[in-house]
Symmetry: C2
Subunit: 209 residues, 2 copies
DNA sequence: CTCTTTCTATGGTGATTGCCATAGTATGGC
DNA sequence: GCCATACTATGGCAATCACCATAGAAAGAG
């Protein structure tokens, strides 16, 4: 009977029959990938449908609100994944700020290398095309940053940082990560992540001796 | 006789009559502004021409290679301006790393506030749409980052940093600035720049006592 | 079987995209 | 007056954009 996963996100579908195909999930995954590589406006629905192998006839059945809805679900997935990664690293480095930061840089760098430096950050790409986004989508992008920062803040608190210092350090880390993605894509090298790691080492090596 | 400025950039035009109108320069300025707000693909030539007040009939006379050439000249202007700002701050804070960093954050934050958080960084916006860019344009974007980083590296060297530390610190600063722009646009607040400034203060206050 | 729901095929809409060919005007040098 | 250069107007190109109306297939529930 092949139970499909297809998380169906919180939008629409309060009940009804379970999914019968994975066309919907594949469309979201492909959209996320293309939006990260090319940007939102530069990616047409045609390309998403083609590359996902989804049938052309049922797009507006799965996504009645069109491209905007597709982007909403794509960013929901993206943010969820990003948060999971951060939580995981945080759990593995509890109480150790330096190790946490190093692992975050390392993980992001590895992700970029794995994609041959093609993938940008979906939140950043959408943020750079704000006028093309409706209020709902904009809000989700903003929330993605807030949520990410909160997790990191929480970790630093667990390292004994004062609340103020934990929060400003977390914000700085998020900003550095975003900028590093942009630069790494151009340089096609994880060098910028290593530079950030070095600077962090110097920072804590001196501050916490 | 109204001498026009119209810098004409290094592309095309090795000689010939001087410019007679400012339509060309205005098109470049408008393109830079719209690309920063909306992105490259999301900005149509129609909108650029309309908002710049330039005549519709002469666009391909001024820019024979079309939108790509327009973007090239826009980023040349943008990078030149950014470098001038950095050089200026560097000159005003010679030998003082902390003061330099603070002024850089302050200047970027003020620029964002002044535009009501509408403007992104042109280099970043273009970098997020790499597949839409030709090799020439991609190269210019990359050079913009390299040049910016070099100026900052130079300043840190002048503060007594070792070459390696000057260069990694400069790279980290550039990355943080880029990320901060993205976040500030979403939060509509210069808070992220203040967070970065605080973290920097802690860094140097401890490291250089 | 019937009925409901899920999903897809077809074929199209009008608008906008970047680009360009052709022709014509304006102006300054000689 | 003549001519070269700087610039503009007009009209249209093929392609793509997001979107949708209509119809029907597929399949599980009763």
């Amino acid at each position: 009977m092949a139970i499909t996963i297809a998380a169906s996100s919180e939008t629409d579908y309060v009940e009804g029959m379970p999914r019968k195909t994975d066309a919907r999930a594949r469309a979201i995954a492909t959209a996320q990938r293309l939006f990260r590589i090319q940007g939102y406006t530069a990616t047409g629905l045609t390309q998403i449908i083609e590359e996902s192998g989804a049938p052309k006839g049922s797009f507006y059945f799965h996504f009645p609100r069109g491209k905007a809805q597709l982007a909403e679900e794509a960013i929901d997935h993206y943010v969820a994944g990003r948060i999971a990664v951060l939580r995981n690293i945080s759990a593995n480095t509890a109480g150790d700020a330096l190790n946490f930061v190093q692992q975050v840089f390392g993980t992001f760098a590895a992700e970029m290398v794995a994609s041959d430096f093609q993938y940008g950050c979906l939140m950043q790409n959408l943020a750079n095309e704000l006028p093309a986004l409706d209020a709902e989508l904009t809000e989700r992008v903003a929330r993605g940053f807030v949520d990410s920062t909160e997790i990191i803040t929480e970790h630093f608190r667990g390292c004994g940082f004062t609340p103020a210092r934990a929060s400003s350090t977390a914000a700085a880390l998020v900003a550095a990560l975003e900028g590093a993605r942009t630069i790494a894509r151009l340089e096609r090298t994880p060098a910028i992540f290593e530079a950030l790691a070095e600077v962090s080492v110097q920072r804590w090596a001196v501050a916490e001796r």
